[in-house]
Symmetry: C2
Subunit: 237 residues, 2 copies
DNA sequence: TCCGATTTTTGATCCCGATCAATGACGCCC
DNA sequence: GGGCGTCATTGATCGGGATCAAAAATCGGA
């Protein structure tokens, strides 16, 4: 029997053995609170390519990424797409003030998510200022990243964009999983292009150029960073 | 005697008659709290072009814009500039997690600011979750704007960028001051260019083009919006 | 293991917005 | 009111990245 595209984990799971415990919003909670939170969230699995929520959808849940990578994006009426970020384990999605999501979110590869119904989670936050402070902290960090990305989109060349992306992505993965050999790139070239405000052809050409320069090595599903120094210079950080 | 470029208002002022009372972060406070807050903040005036704080500066204060317009921007090492936003009365500046500002802020024209020393204000927030919630709300709203701006920078043409900017700026002013005739543009063409990821020449040419099309009328210090419908179509919202 | 679909790479050409250059329009201070 | 510095507009040309097109590589399924 074929697995469904979206499956809810049937049996109990516990926050205490959660992989993203110290990265996620939950890091602000004590043991007792975690036990209470366990009853509010449920683990959900999404297959590659599935949409978790869409822009303009009414917000009914908040989401905590546990495993996998997601693309967060906005579409223009004519189909042009801008990816506003990639979500990794520990990222918290769904906060907004309009009551509607202001971007869409797809699973890239399979993804596991901890899903909280909006109302009970909002009530849970209510009298827990430390959790609110943690959420605020995550929002401010995202805001900082968003501003950095504006600089990239508005003022950097294609070469700088690609180099900056590769270094930044690598840095995030290292922060999450520790030192790594090669850099996995689970997203497609088109995703990278839509993240950097380029076309797929330009991204592909720039990858090839960087390889020719001996800065990277293109491997299936990722790249190897051969000359971090040189890459940093190209990124012009 | 010539006025100094930065002046601190000498005598007492009161939050109760503050112009941005209902827009700002303070809208979450009751009368008693406002009276307490009064002692933490002081009004400061900046002359046109003055820098209020710079990127990488250690954050020693938070700022509440009371009057005037500010440009918020980031610089690349080689001088390229990206304006990440324009601050208007009611906007709250200075939140970050690194302890350093992550963008610079200049006064455009004269600006009045309500300045709070970081430590006492942080303490003031401490046991006032409603204020924290309000700050979080403002952060999330900015995040939404930041994502919209990413789409503009990454995926829109010059014409769309300019039209979108004019409509968005007009909308913000209307929200703040009610219906207006012409749209004042206190920032320079260079500021607009650095906000939209364009050059000053392209902005100027696009303005002229929109005027030739009968969409706007260029007047000293601003524009008149003659055909909002047409402008909206060009913006391709 | 082979085949068809999809994704990625590479090549040729085009065009939008940047760059370079000059002129025009203010505002400001003596 | 005249001269000067700054900012905005306009014109001519250039080039980086987009677009159009095709080949090559990779992947998934029978």
């Amino acid at each position: 029997m074929k697995a469904s595209l979206v499956t809810i984990e049937p049996n109990g799971h516990s926050c205490s053995d959660c992989a993203v415990r110290e990265f996620a919003v939950c890091s602000s909670l004590d043991a007792a609170e975690l036990r209470e939170l366990e009853h509010l969230g449920r683990r959900v699995h999404f297959a590659a390519g599935q949409t978790v929520f869409s822009e303009e959808d009414i917000t009914t849940s908040f989401y905590n990424v546990l495993d996998g990578v997601m693309r967060l994006y906005k579409l223009l009426p004519d189909g042009r797409r801008q990816i506003v970020g990639f979500a990794l384990p520990g990222d918290f999605l769904g906060m907004n003030i309009s009551g509607r999501h202001n971007f869409s979110a797809d699973a890239i590869g399979t993804v596991t998510i901890c899903q909280f119904a909006k109302a009970p989670f909002t009530r849970f936050i209510e009298d827990r200022p430390h959790l609110l402070r943690r959420i605020n902290e995550l929002a401010i960090r995202e805001l900082t990243q968003a501003r950095d990305h504006m600089v990239l989109l508005g003022r950097r060349s294609a070469d700088e964009k690609v180099a900056t992306f590769l270094l930044g992505w690598r840095e995030r993965l290292i922060l999450l999983k520790g030192p790594i050999g090669t850099v996995p790139l689970p997203m497609s070239r088109q995703d990278i292009a839509d993240y950097l405000g380029l076309t797929i052809e330009t991204v592909s050409r720039t990858f090839t150029k960087l390889e020719r320069l001996g800065v990277i090595e293109i491997i299936p599903g990722g790249i190897g960073l051969l000359d971090a120094e040189r890459a940093g210079a190209l990124a012009a950080a």
